[in-house]
């Protein structure tokens, strides 16, 4: 009797495998990661904290690149432009209007959205390498604009941004700025994660895998791609505003080709299509560029190149692939 009871539910379990367990584990991992990140200013000193603040801001940019490249299958080198639009907007708001962080982020978001909407409707018509080249052209154009336009300081950049304030209180210490940036970055992550898991995210992955088949099913891929391009522009701009909140100085270098390339590199290193992998990739890339670089005689780019080659050969799915592999074999056996 007991044997019957225990064997009966087995097929049902086999038919619906691994989902609930995976979800539980993901939530636990997210809570742990958030708690650890929130505790950073309590443990580390001012310099590492400001370093991690920039990593978080950069991770938001990388998230937007992953949304386009990893989820929708549109490899891009143009997101640094919207990152720059966000950073300049936040800095201009900070210098001329208000030091309120929320206003700066909101203004940057709208500016990024508008910039992406204006440039995106041309870009999304192209595919693959042509799309990549178009986004590169957009990035370089915006870079040129920032470099020459005196209203935003031209080549000298935009300085004199006062410390960010939140809810009326100025945040003078690096730790408070960190918490503010962490909160906004977490919100951006949540939004992108929700989009990725939604029916719209499914539509985007369908476009990535087989755009022709999507049309045959009655989809219009164009508007869907334009929508995600605008969203990615807004997300990148929020990252730019967060960057400006920490650095309080924006220069054309912040939206140059190097930043765009590093963002794409972070996605590849982290594992495109997963969201947390590229965030780790962003941290790693910035760590190598800004810290390790000093110890290897300024050859940070060389180290990054070596890391890139090593990752492509040893971990084709990036850092995220390391976590996925044992789970796969577990499910098979």
């Amino acid at each position: 009797m007991k044997a019957v009871e225990t064997t009966a539910p087995a097929p049902a379990v086999a038919a619906r495998p691994r989902r609930p367990a995976r979800r539980g584990r993901a939530v636990a991992a997210a809570v742990t990661a958030a708690a650890l990140l929130a505790a950073v200013p309590l443990v580390l000193g001012a310099y590492p904290v400001s370093m991690m603040t920039r990593m978080l801001a950069f991770a938001v940019l990388v998230l937007s690149v992953d949304l386009l490249t990893g989820i929708t299958g549109m490899p891009t080198l143009g997101q640094a432009a919207y990152f720059g639009v966000g950073a300049y907007t936040a800095a201009l708001v900070g210098v001329h209007l208000t030091s309120d962080g929320a206003v700066q982020v909101a203004a940057a978001l709208l500016a990024g959205l508008a910039a992406a909407a204006v440039t995106g409707w041309i870009a999304v018509r192209a595919h693959g390498i042509v799309f990549l080249m178009l986004t590169l052209a957009i990035g370089e154009s915006v870079h040129q604009l920032a470099d020459t336009w005196s209203l935003v300081g031209g080549g000298n950049g935009l300085a004199g941004m006062p410390p960010v304030s939140v809810l009326g209180t100025a945040l003078p210490a690096a730790g408070f700025v960190y918490w503010w940036v962490l909160a906004v970055a977490a919100a951006a992550f949540a939004v992108v994660a929700l989009v990725a898991r939604s029916p719209y995210g499914r539509t985007l992955r369908g476009i990535r895998d087989n755009e022709a088949r999507m049309r045959a099913l009655g989809y219009r891929p164009g508007p869907a791609k334009f929508g995600v391009f605008c969203l990615a522009g807004a997300v990148a701009a929020v990252g730019g505003a967060l960057w400006a909140a920490q650095v309080r100085f924006v220069s054309p270098g912040d939206l140059g080709f190097e930043v765009a390339a590093l963002a794409l590199l972070s996605v590849v290193i982290g594992g495109s299509g997963t969201l947390w992998g590229p965030c780790l990739g962003a941290a790693l890339v910035l760590l190598v560029r800004d810290n390790l670089s000093a110890h290897v005689g300024g050859h940070g780019a060389l180290v990054l190149g070596a890391v890139f080659v090593a990752v492509v050969f040893t971990m084709p799915r990036g850092l995220a692939g390391l976590a996925r592999r044992p789970r796969r074999t577990e499910a098979r056996s």
Binding site: A14, A15, R16, P17, R18, R19, L194, V195, R197, S198, P199, Y200, G201, R202, T203, R205, G206, R208, D209, N210, A212, R213, M214, R215, A216, L217, G218, Y219, R220, A224, G227, G273
Partner: protein
């Protein structure tokens, strides 16, 4: 009654090669219409032209009496004209469930919603699972499509196109690569489909053709050779010569036909 699908002088040329040559075809609503013909007869090109993947060189495609020749493939699909592919065309990086859910969520008009996770859309998930069950793939719902065997991919293709709730569905060699058991399951599934649905099927397995079809059209060198009920096709001399009775395939290219 207006026919579900009507082709009038449909032609598709590649330069001097006419792959589809002035095809006239009428498929009544609810009909199971089989399209047969030797390799290279233009069956797949005809499907692609009807579906809108390829532009017609001349002629018209009428869906439920309305001219859709000028419409894009996506617009024709929205009006209920769908097709499967001879070589499975799937979303290989997505889960098996997602493949079918993509079709379902478009029909249920939630394909661009992002206010909550996809699994929160219970009607989409349930409908997608139903379609997977009907082709025997429910147990593999959460596997990646690329992990499926060739036969399973063919089944998934069938589930996906039916999930898009077509009015007219064109199957391009659906059983190619299926095992005998899978072919049997497909034939049973097709027999069980409601008569509100019109089916055009390209098929090489003549047992399946004569079991399912109400009418059969024979295509040869891009043109319609014969069209009629299965019994009449079986006894048609020209068809016998061109296709059914051809002892050797070479006969098809050496003037054996007509």
């Amino acid at each position: 009654m207006t026919p579900a699908l009507r082709l009038e002088g449909l032609t598709r040329s590649y330069g001097s090669l006419t792959a589809v040559d002035h095809v006239d075809l009428t498929v009544a609503r609810g009909e199971r219409h089989a399209l047969i013909g030797p390799n290279g007869a233009g069956k797949s090109t005809l499907f692609a032209t009807v579906a809108g993947t390829l532009r017609a060189t001349s002629g018209r495609v009428l869906l439920n009496g309305r001219d859709v020749t000028a419409l894009s493939e996506s617009e024709r699909a929205r009006r209920g004209l769908l097709r499967t592919y001879q070589h499975s065309s799937l979303f290989l990086g997505c889960t098996v469930l997602d493949n079918v859910a993509l079709a379902v969520q478009r029909v249920q008009r939630v394909a661009h919603r992002f206010d909550r996770p996809a699994r929160g859309f219970r009607r989409v998930q349930a409908r997608a699972l139903e379609h997977l069950e009907s082709v025997g793939l429910a147990g593999r719902a959460h596997d990646t499509a690329s992990e499926l065997s060739h036969g399973e991919r063919r089944q998934l293709e069938v589930a996906m196109v039916l999930a898009a709730e077509p009015a007219v569905v064109m199957f391009d060699e659906p059983t190619a690569g299926m095992s005998a058991a899978e072919t049997e399951r497909f034939a049973t599934l097709l027999e069980g489909l409601p008569r509100s649905l019109t089916v055009v099927i390209v098929e090489h397995d003549l047992d399946v053709v004569f079991r399912l079809a109400d009418r059969v059209t024979v295509l040869h060198l891009g043109a319609v050779l014969a069209s009629g009920p299965p019994a009449a096709i079986r006894s048609d001399e020209a068809v016998r010569a061109a296709y059914l009775g051809a002892a050797r395939t070479e006969d098809l290219f050496t003037g054996g036909a007509r």
